[in-house]
């Protein structure tokens, strides 16, 4: 099986580590080899959080520069920062809702032109799926479900050797029962939104 490397990036609190973990669980349920990695450290204090999922047979959980087949960017600025990770045939899934870092919020630095980011990314990668995951999560009734929307969008790209059943089963097993229904709704919302933009 061909190895697929997925690089997740976002900001502390967006749940990208959980998203990579659920993807890993779905791979495990599907008997597909999987390894994951995540970087904690000081990332909980508003910094960048990165995690990876490598499925299909490679043993290294770490993704070197230029070797991510899929970039899951939970925030547009972080998509730009993670460009070093992708190659020309990569698929990028990017949420367009900006979370300005403190350096921007306090007026020390400027945030790049948000509206131009999807086009900028499109010129670099084979395919870009952009969606406002925060808005979609809110519409689905769980503003904290950005990671579920992103997982749905990832599935919709068809770039994964993993079924929808396996992903929803992983969500069922790996998220709190009180949020399950809304998380599944967020996932579906992500699938629909991304499918509409193929």
């Amino acid at each position: 099986m061909k190895t697929v490397r997925i690089f997740f990036t976002g900001v502390g609190g967006q749940g990208n580590v959980l998203a990579s973990k659920l993807l890993g669980e779905a791979a495990l349920l599907s008997n597909i080899p999987v390894v994951l990695s995540e970087i904690h450290g000081m990332s909980q204090r508003g910094g960048v959080v990165e995690s990876t999922a490598v499925i299909g047979g490679a043993l290294s959980p770490v993704i070197a520069d230029g070797e991510a087949d899929i970039l899951m960017a939970f925030e547009p600025l972080e998509a730009l920062r993670a460009l070093r990770k992708i190659h020309r045939k990569s698929v990028i899934i990017v949420s367009t809702a900006p979370l300005p870092p403190s350096s921007v919020a306090t007026g020390q630095c400027a945030y790049p032109d948000v509206k131009g980011i999807p086009d900028f990314l499109a010129a670099k990668a084979a395919r870009v799926v952009s969606l406002d995951a925060r808005k979609e999560a809110e519409k689905a009734g769980n503003p904290l479900g950005v990671n579920m929307v992103m997982l749905g969008a990832l599935f919709a790209t068809g770039a994964l050797p993993i079924s929808k059943d396996a992903l929803t089963e992983a969500i069922r097993k790996g998220t709190k029962p009180a949020f399950l229904e809304k998380n599944l709704a967020c996932f579906e919302r992500g699938v629909e939104t991304a499918s509409g933009r193929k």
């Binding site: 900001v11 502390g12 973990k21 890993g24 669980e25 495990l28 080899p33 999987v34 390894v35 994951l36 990695s37 995540e38 970087i39 904690h40 450290g41 000081m42 990332s43 909980q44 204090r45 508003g46 910094g47 960048v48 490679a58 043993l59 290294s60 959980p61 770490v62 993704i63 070197a64 520069d65 230029g66 070797e67 600025l77 972080e78 730009l80 920062r81 460009l83 070093r84 992708i86 190659h87 020309r88 045939k89 990569s90 300005p100 870092p101 403190s102 350096s103 921007v104 919020a105 306090t106 007026g107 020390q108 630095c109 400027a110 945030y111 790049p112 032109d113 900028f120 670099k124 990668a125």
Partner: protein, 622 residues
């Protein structure tokens, strides 16, 4: 998380390296654990603490790694299976007991889980702790994935029990924080308690006894070397006349690279899982017949030097390279799959696979996203007050290790030195002596958990030697940085009767400090006045700035302040004092208008005291 306890033999689960280690300890029949948290090992302590309620082992948080190691040694000397988990610099603190515990040996079993941090994701240095195993004659396992984390932990306990000596399991950030499938094994029952059999000659390290112990230690290491020769964790993958020797996080990078470079059948890889003592005979066997050999390891050339020594001893003279290969295998930071692949390609003279990287040179400048003190963080309040208190004075700020080290960042910039845990209390001794005629004053900072870890001895030193400086103890009543583990400074109400909190004020007074004041940093005026008074006091002074970590209050007690605050735009003069001096991350500039993000606002109301225009008010309910 109960899968770690409930998982049946043969069952498979996706586990983080640190989780797998906990499962391994549980399978081995762990009785007792004591830890001081340190990333990347922190999850182990948190998991053990939480799981003990449903398991037969007991776990306690220690005040520091030395205490934890000695506590675990006590249990193992009495015949129990014990462990501690620490980060690489934590082993510096625990080096004293470990150096002699190896002489004494243990009677149950004892495992020290040590997590190194190449790349310094959350550490002050990237020292290579494999040298400790060699220095102290302690056998060492080095897992390279989650399954091995579990399996080698089980093996480490077994070896410790068999040889009667402590054993190290060493990981790195990548191994500790990777996730992979782990197949569970059977669980051995814990012994839970025992009777201490006296054996003073074995357990009292007086010189006369220690000389005998040293001889015994070397005999045990001989037996350990035999185990290493036969260990299934030291295995050769593939075959060929070219060779790679590797261990730890580099193992998967090497194996992936050999496959991807089409070197299968040409390069054999010796994957070392038990790295101390090294399988010397196994290495000699592996080397003989190889035309050239590459050693791939992160950090220091520890393995490389050992392999070269083995080759010399066996009269083998094929080229053996490691550090410096292709200019890539450096002693700095962590490696990654592409870096290791490039080094292997160059050394074995095959074409590398270059990923089709994208050209991002036209990317606009990207604003940095540094971590910062959270909204509502009491450390920001104390720093703000301290900065005000220091106005007009020439003040040096020795600082320490914890969330509050982020006070280094602008605009607070309240750290002039950060050395290691506890050093902010001891550095002022020599620093103060050096600058005694310069007119400079010293205002040092330390967190509550770090104070108990290694600040108290420095404070006694300061009292004893009449040093004059001010120490601010940033008491948020928890070990916040590593994930909110209990601190001895915890709120007595939260202690639940199982723990006995220790009053820092009583400690400071008991240690002989005459000027001690407790303040609530939420009151900036009073805090500023107290710190100013302390700075002007002719002697040693301690200020305890006490306010619980709001994240911990929210997570553990489910409490959150209901009132959020907002900027009254009619009153706001856009002076930006809230941003440029206080820098709470809930503030943002929206087209020249200053606003507060209600989703971030913690409701602490301290910015109300900061705003010179009195423009910050409770937000109206929607």
């Amino acid at each position: 998380m109960s899968i770690l306890l409930n998982g049946k033999p043969g069952e498979k689960a996706l586990l983080m390296g640190n989780e797998a280690l906990v499962r391994g300890a549980y399978e081995a029949g762990l009785d007792f654990a004591s830890c001081y948290p340190g990333t990347p090992s922190s999850e182990v302590s948190t998991l053990l603490f939480g799981l003990q309620k449903k398991a037969d082992f007991y776990m306690e948080f220690a005040t520091n790694e030395k205490v934890a190691t000695e506590a675990a040694a006590g249990a193992a000397l009495a015949g129990l299976k014990s462990m501690t988990a620490l980060k690489h610099v934590g082993l510096n603190v625990a080096a004293d007991p470990l150096g002699t515990l190896s002489y004494m040996g243990v009677r149950g079993a004892m495992v020290i889980y040590n997590a190194d941090d190449p790349g310094m994701f959350s550490s002050q240095n990237e020292q290579d702790n494999r040298y400790f195993a060699q220095l102290f004659n302690v056998p060492m396992f080095e897992p390279s994935n989650a399954q091995e984390m579990k399996d080698m932990t089980v093996a480490a306990f077994a070896l410790s029990q068999e040889l009667g000596m402590p054993v190290i399991v060493r990981s790195t950030t990548r191994v500790a924080h990777m996730r992979g499938p782990v197949v569970f094994g059977p669980v051995s029952p814990a012994k839970k308690q025992t009777y201490f059999e006296r054996a003073p000659k074995d357990l009292v390290s007086l010189p006369a006894n220690a000389r005998v112990m040293h001889v015994r230690l070397l005999e045990r290491m001989k037996n350990a070397a035999e185990t290493s020769e036969k260990s299934p964790f030291n295995r050769v993958e593939g075959e060929g006349t070219l060779g790679v020797i590797t261990s730890s996080a580099s193992v998967p990078y090497v194996l992936d690279a050999i496959r991807d470079l089409g070197l299968s059948g040409k390069v054999a890889t010796y994957c070392l899982g038990m790295t101390w003592p090294l399988p010397e005979k196994g290495l000699a066997r592996f080397l003989s017949g190889k035309s050239k050999v590459l050693v791939v390891e992160e950090l220091e050339p520890w393995l490389e030097n050992a392999v070269k020594a083995v080759a010399q001893a066996h009269g083998l003279n094929m080229p053996i390279r490691g550090k410096g290969t292709a200019g890539l295998l450096t002693r700095l930071s962590e490696y990654d799959p592409a870096l290791v692949r490039a080094a292997i390609a160059e050394y074995f003279e095959v074409e590398d696979i270059f990923p089709d990287k994208v050209d991002a040179s036209d990317c606009p400048p990207l604003p940095v996203r540094p971590p910062s003190l959270c909204a509502g963080c009491p450390h920001r309040m104390t720093y703000y007050a301290a900065k005000k208190a220091a106005e007009g004075l020439d003040v040096i700020f020795p600082n320490d290790i914890g969330c509050y080290t982020l006070g280094f960042m602008p605009p607070l910039q309240m750290a002039d030195t950060v050395l290691c845990m506890g050093a902010s209390v001891s550095v002022p001794a020599g620093l103060g002596y050096a600058v005694r005629e310069s007119g400079q004053k010293i205002l040092a900072f330390i967190g509550d958990s770090t104070f108990f870890h290694s600040g108290m001895t420095g404070l006694v030193h300061a009292v004893f030697n009449n040093h004059k400086f001010t120490l601010v103890i940033l008491d948020n009543q928890i070990t916040a940085m590593t994930g909110h583990q209990p601190s001895p400074a915890m709120d007595p109400q939260a202690a639940d009767g199982n723990l006995t909190p220790v009053d820092i004020e009583a400690v400071a007074r008991g240690l002989g400090v005459k000027h001690v004041q407790v303040v609530r940093p939420t009151n900036l005026k009073k805090t500023t006045a107290a710190i100013r008074e302390a700075l002007e006091y002719d002697g040693l002074s301690v200020i305890i700035a006490r306010e619980p970590c709001p994240l911990s209050v929210k997570r553990h007690l489910g409490k959150q302040k209901a009132v959020k605050f907002a900027v009254d735009q009619e009153k706001c003069t856009k002076c930006r004092a809230c941003i440029s001096t206080f820098a709470c991350p809930a503030f943002f500039v929206d087209n020249e208008t200053i606003r507060i993000d209600p989703t971030l606002c913690a409701g602490c109301a301290v910015c109300v005291q900061v705003c010179p225009a009195h423009a910050i008010k409770p937000a109206k309910a929607d």
